[in-house]
């Protein structure tokens, strides 16, 4: 069986700055991958290349057998199957929680109004926010906003979910509620790529942990090994810093 996501020799430049210096990885269906590493290591850029929010400079990305980096690819079609959750939530402030979730399926004519609304309410229930359906984003706490954002991504019924530091902008007491939703999602077999600083989540929920630094994958391992017996000195240096503080 081939992997669901195959990344080959991915390079990304911002001007003259090389942010990704050749990333190779295969991610299987249902796998949960946590990407860790110091800031500036290129982990967010790597994630954003997977749905081409950043255009790769060089290399190849294959998702579900389709080369999404090929010229002429309809990236909008592919993005429907790849949900994304952002650090800053990016909920649409002019739409209620429910409308945020309904917008894309309606606009893309995947669901009619009734179906979209049913789905939205079901998803809000799943993230524990049934009673907030008609509330505007600015009236929600950070943790609630992020849970709505997850529900919004799930409304497109994606096969893959990308998380770009989903808890980094949250007050500490709200991190747990978001991670709980993500863990539930992981347990249901969703393919997930999570850029995170939450080592606890990586340890509990990841099938594989990837340590990135200076634009390359320095080390990849199952969580136990990564956290107890890292091979690369850069990995242990990084883990020492984040795990002791």
């Amino acid at each position: 069986m081939t992997a669901q996501i195959v990344v080959k020799n991915l390079h990304k430049y911002f001007g003259k700055l090389e942010v990704l210096k050749g990333i190779d990885i295969e991610i299987n269906k249902g796998e949960v991958i946590c990407v860790i590493g110091p800031s500036g290591s290129g982990k967010s850029t790597f994630l954003r290349c997977l749905n081409r929010l950043e255009e790769p400079t060089d290399g190849e990305i294959v998702v579900d057998g389709e080369t999404i980096t090929a010229p002429g690819t309809d990236i909008n079609k592919i993005r429907r199957h790849i949900g994304m959750v952002f650090q800053q939530f990016n909920l649409f402030p002019h739409l209620s929680a429910k409308q945020n979730i309904m917008m894309a399926p309606l606009e893309l004519k995947i669901k009619n109004k009734k179906e979209a609304e049913e789905k939205a309410l079901e998803l809000l229930d799943r993230v524990g926010l049934s009673e907030k359906a008609d509330v505007m984003p600015r009236q929600l706490s950070g943790g609630q906003q992020q849970r709505v954002a997850i529900a919004r991504a799930l409304a497109m019924e994606p096969d893959i979910m990308l998380f770009d530091e989903p808890t980094s902008a949250l007050d500490p007491e709200m991190v747990g509620e978001v991670l709980a939703v993500m863990k539930e999602l992981a347990s249901m077999g969703m393919t997930m790529v999570v850029v995170t600083h939450e080592m606890g989540f990586a340890r509990d929920a990841a099938d594989r942990v990837i340590f990135m630094d200076e634009g390359i994958i320095m080390e990849e391992a199952v969580p136990e090994e990564m956290f107890t017996n890292p091979k690369n000195p850069r990995t242990s240096e990084f883990l020492n810093k984040v795990l002791t503080t």
Partner: protein, 220 residues
């Protein structure tokens, strides 16, 4: 100097003039809103179309309204006549065209600023769901941009209404034109222009109040 007596004579003329000014301004603004939005979207696109917007804004911003009016009323018809076309514009046509072009250019800058002011993450979130650039613009960016630029738009409405007074120079029968004729006949400068100023104040105050209500209604 008798305000009351002057009003009884000039009042009806000023009301008529204000009516004409409001009429041409409203039509011009309606067209300018569309023109400004199209120009703003062209200006933000990465296609060569953006140079058309740049040239348009540069031309309008770089010349006084008075010159634009003269140009449209006198200069362009002469040019067309020279080229063998016989085009005669009424003062109303010229007023409408110059106000529209002028307001459109400033509105395109207002829209451009407002679209740029919407957080970058909004476009990314919309695109990550599979929406095209155009769909994201329509459903996510523009609804927010329009709320952002509402105060500036109202400001532009007021400026355009006031600019319509410049068009008196081509004999367009708005408020100032009526006032000047009356003053020429009676020498009642103080009273007449006091009434003109009050007329503008009343109309613009009303407009400002309406806009406050609208702003409150669409606030997120």
């Amino acid at each position: 100097m008798n305000l009351g007596k002057v009003y009884s004579e000039v009042g009806p003329l000023l009301i008529k003039g204000m009516g004409v000014a409001v009429q041409v301004t409203v039509i011009a603004l309606a067209i300018a809103l569309v023109l400004g939005m199209v120009a703003a979207l062209m200006g933000l696109s990465k296609t060569p179309l953006r140079f058309i917007t740049k040239a348009y804004v540069w031309l309008i911003r770089g010349t006084p309204m008075l010159v634009q009016v003269m140009y449209i009323y006198f200069a362009i018809p002469q040019l067309l006549q020279f080229m063998g076309y016989n085009v005669r514009l009424t003062a109303f046509d010229a007023a409408l065209i110059s106000l529209t072009l002028n307001a459109g250019a400033y509105m395109s800058e207002i829209f451009r600023g407002a679209i740029n002011a919407v957080e970058k993450g909004q476009m990314e979130a919309a695109r990550s769901l599979g929406l095209s650039q155009g769909q994201a613009m329509r459903k996510v960016i523009l609804p927010q941009a329009l709320r952002i630029c509402l105060p500036s738009l109202v400001n532009q409405f007021i400026i355009t209404l006031k600019d319509s007074s410049i068009i008196s120079v081509i004999g367009f029968g708005e408020v100032i034109y009526q006032a000047r004729i009356y003053v020429g006949r009676t020498m009642e400068s103080f009273a007449t222009y006091t009434w003109v100023a009050l007329f503008y104040l009343v109309v613009i105050t009303a407009l400002t109040q309406i806009s406050k209500v609208v702003e409150r209604k669409v606030r997120i």
